[in-house]
């Protein structure tokens, strides 16, 4: 006998979240309001993602949780333990073995399949929020498809920096209709959002849920003369040698020495394991 209802949330709450999720799937990129609950973790630690994951989990699921690509950071480990304890699901660090992956700010390097669900933790779901603080106004702008302000912001980037300097939370247009915040993933990950897996987004403090069904058109906003570039550090991983993976710059000693390593720890580890096998 467990001390918690399956996956922590009560059934009434899960039904409310599930109804919001179905509407979110039916209107890709539109932010569905939902009655976000207080979770046993602070806002900013993935309360939205955790609620979406709780509403989706089945007992037979295998869960993976990543924080900036890493399986072994505090946030990722805590959420994994939370669901081990409240839902008794299997957990894994291997992308291919997971049926549900909750992520903070990265998309795994390994392509996902139709049988997987990717749940994003979202801090500020409204892409127009820093341009227009009033919810009444941004709601109207989405209703009228009035996205000129976003292009002005990207244009100002070009005017000041000579290029679009926005490097994360890079706005996308979903299925030609809604401009959407992909959560603070690096823009390197934007092209991966047209994927086989279902993507669900949960913003706990801001009480919004949105979704991208498999194979939905996701276009990063840009200009004809300044096309979108999925940039990354101009190095290869110093541990596994990958030159097509997103890299973290890590300071390794007091003298300011740095190294570039894969941000996706599972990707890097499995590559190194294969290399060791090949060498042996």
């Amino acid at each position: 006998m467990s001390d918690y209802n399956f996956a922590y949330l009560d059934e009434q709450t899960k039904r409310m979240i599930r109804r919001a999720l179905l509407k979110a799937v039916a209107i890709p990129g539109y932010q569905v309001p939902f009655a976000s609950r207080e979770m046993p973790m602070p806002y900013g630690w993935g309360t939205g993602g955790v609620q979406v994951t709780a509403a989706c989990l089945r007992p037979e699921d295998t869960l993976k949780v990543i924080d900036q690509g890493a399986d072994d950071t505090t946030n990722a480990i805590s959420i994994r333990k939370f669901f081990e304890r409240t839902a008794h699901v299997k957990v894994t660090t291997h992308t291919a073995e997971a049926t549900v992956i909750q992520t903070r700010h990265r998309i795994p390097e390994e392509p996902l399949t139709e049988d997987q669900i990717l749940v994003y933790q979202v801090p500020i779901p409204e892409p127009l929020r820093f341009l227009e603080p009033r919810e009444t106004e941004t709601r109207k702008m989405h209703a009228l498809e009035e996205y000129g302000l976003m292009h002005v912001k990207l244009y100002e980037d070009i005017a000041r920096h000579g290029e679009i300097a926005t490097s994360y939370a890079y706005p996308v247009k979903v299925e030609g209709r809604y401009v959407m915040d992909p959560s603070p993933i690096p823009k390197f990950d934007n092209p991966k959002m047209e994927m086989a897996a279902l993507q669900l987004f949960g913003a706990g403090r801001e009480q919004r849920i949105y979704a991208i069904p498999p194979y939905t058109e996701v276009v990063s906003l840009d200009f004809e003369d300044h096309p979108f570039v999925a940039s990354k550090a101009d190095h290869s991983c110093e541990l596994c040698g990958a030159d097509n993976a997103y890299l973290d710059e890590v300071i390794i000693d007091d003298a300011g020495e740095r190294m570039f390593v894969c941000s996706d720890t599972d990707y890097c580890e499995s590559r190194r394991a294969t290399q060791q096998e090949d060498a042996a």
Partner: protein, 188 residues
């Protein structure tokens, strides 16, 4: 024998989780079919029963088409879900045969600012594998797919309202197929 009390969830958290994932799957992949076994209500297909148990509660006004407005069905749903029975215009969910749910214009399609405030229709069909009369494409579909729909022309009109519109779950026996408003409809 009174069947009001039996046939519902035995283990609500896990059964609801399974049914929801199936429902999420068919809505995210329009035209795909999932099976819902394990619950039964008098006078309702099992898939419709499972969807109602999973998604409705005292917060969701539910419209029952005339053929389902019998005392048995209403009492069963009242006991197991507590969903208040509502008129077409107020309903968040509606269940019935296709001809009973017409005209679709009676149901809420949401507003420009809140397109999510729209009804989800659970349509009872004889079968889902009739000869395809519609080619669907759009979100959730890697390639266009041929499916059968009760009235492709009306579904086309529904898609034209996008991002407003109704969302559909077509059920037959224990099977359900999803069709959200985002799906593009081509009449074959």
């Amino acid at each position: 024998m009174d069947t009001t009390l039996t046939g519902g969830f035995v283990d609500a958290p896990t059964q609801a989780a399974d049914y929801f994932r199936a429902a999420l799957g068919v809505m995210a992949k329009p035209g795909s079919v999932a099976a819902f076994h394990g619950v039964s209500a008098p006078g309702l297909p099992d898939a419709a029963t499972a969807l109602l148990l999973t998604l409705t509660d005292p917060e969701t006004p539910l419209h029952l088409a005339p053929s389902l407005a019998s005392a048995d069905v209403a009492a069963w749903l009242a006991f197991h879900t507590g969903a208040p029975v509502a008129d077409r215009g107020d309903a968040q969910f509606a269940v019935g045969r296709w001809d009973e749910l017409l005209p679709l214009t009676d149901f809420a399609v949401g507003s420009a600012e809140y397109p999510d405030r729209s009804a989800t229709l659970i349509v009872l069909c004889d079968a889902l594998d009739h000869r395809p009369n519609t080619r669907i494409s759009g979100p959730g579909l890697k390639a266009p797919k041929n499916v059968w729909l009760p009235d492709p022309v009306l579904m086309q009109a529904n898609h034209k309202l996008y991002p407003l519109g109704l969302d559909f779950l077509f059920v037959s026996g224990a099977e359900a197929m999803g069709l959200p408003r985002s799906t593009k409809i081509e009449v074959l």
